[in-house]
């Protein structure tokens, strides 16, 4: 009898401890099902290569946007300077979407600079010209005289260049990328500001860009 009582006691204790283990609060459970992890753009993440990645883009564009606001031509401007974007030159071996650099600098400045600079929508000129023609022809209404040219000219051009240097040995791959950005006076061609950032990475894996 004593033997079976002991067995019951041991079994009960075992069952209770198992239940209590399950009772421990585990906190928030992340979504499961699809094996995809959402990352912050400035995180390196677990899929990393030696090439240009989102965290580089975020760090470089953030630095450039803040630097542009500090130059006297922008900080002390009497009228709000107009900036047009000129495509970035990609001189690296990485086939990336280079326009994303200018886009992010523009977005950061528009979001946070409280109107210290204005960007010109040169990419949308066809649409804008078509709208003006419609107004001139009287097909649509106009709040001002449509024959007067009101499209603003650029005071400055923002552009940049990505230059790369790569190496490969039996130990792995090495990539150095120099990011340079310039603000060019549209009237005089003076480079009124230049900012740079350099990132070197070494690793075993080379990233493939899609």
């Amino acid at each position: 009898m004593n033997k079976s009582l002991n067995r019951i006691v041991i079994l009960s204790l075992g069952a209770a401890s198992l239940f209590f283990t399950g009772c421990a609060n585990q906190g928030v459970q992340n979504p499961s099902g699809v094996p995809v992890t959402e990352m912050k753009a400035d995180e390196r993440g677990f899929v990393a290569g030696t090439g240009i990645e989102s965290q580089d883009l975020v760090a470089v564009t953030d630095k450039m946007a803040r630097a542009i606001l500090g130059i006297p031509e922008i900080a002390n401007a009497k009228a709000v300077p107009r900036i047009a974007l000129d495509p970035v030159i990609n001189d690296t071996r990485f086939a990336i979407n280079k326009d994303i650099f200018n886009d992010r600098i523009r977005t950061k400045l528009n979001e946070h600079a409280n109107g210290k600079v204005r960007f010109l929508a040169r990419e949308r000129m066809k649409t804008l010209e078509h709208e003006r023609e419609l107004k001139q022809s009287g097909a649509v209404t106009a709040s001002s005289d449509p024959s007067v040219v009101e499209f603003k000219g650029a005071d400055y051009f923002l552009t940049g260049k990505l230059s790369g240097m790569s190496g490969r040995t039996s130990q792995g791959v090495s990539d150095y990328v120099l990011y340079t950005f310039q603000l060019i006076d549209a009237r005089t061609s003076d480079i009124v500001w230049e900012g740079s950032s350099e990132i070197k990475k070494q690793g075993l894996e080379d990233a493939a860009y899609r």
């Binding site: 009582l5 953030d62 946007a65 606001l69 210290k116």
Partner: protein, 137 residues
């Protein structure tokens, strides 16, 4: 024997009943503790960083256009190369973020080296700041 078994079962059931989560909502935990990030200008995000990194001084100034510039001296306390990440959150007078937050940027510190890291706010809304350091990831 039967009595003992019943007693044990009853005790187990009673305890398990206490395990059931009460219905929400709940008040957040630690609302008055561990809030250094709200009050301090330099914080280290975990104990390993606290062991390896310190700040030897932070300077700040208002630029002529009203923006806030921070220069933080960050020192490696160890005799080995370490890699951390730093970020700065710009805040208003009430210590609430203005929405201007620098991305986490990698900082490589040589043996016992001190590096000066500069952060500049994007607008004149910043009055306070918090420089944060974490392990590189």
């Amino acid at each position: 024997m039967k009595k003992t078994a019943f007693t044990l079962a009853a005790v187990a059931l009673a305890l398990l009943a206490g395990c059931k989560n009460p219905p929400g909502p709940f008040a957040p935990q630690d609302t008055t503790k561990y809030t250094l990030e709200n009050t301090d200008s330099f914080v280290l995000m975990d104990q390993k960083v606290q062991y390896s990194v310190t700040s030897t001084g932070i300077q700040y100034r208002n630029l002529p256009d009203g923006r806030l510039e921070i220069v933080a001296n960050i020192k490696n306390r160890e005799n080995r190369r370490i890699q951390v990440q730093v970020s700065c959150v710009f805040k208003n007078e009430q210590s609430v973020s203005t929405g201007d937050e620098t991305p986490w940027q990698t900082l490589i510190l040589g043996e016992n080296t001190t590096e000066a890291v500069t952060f500049t706010s994007m607008n004149n809304e910043a009055r306070k700041y918090t420089v944060r350091v974490r392990q590189a990831r």
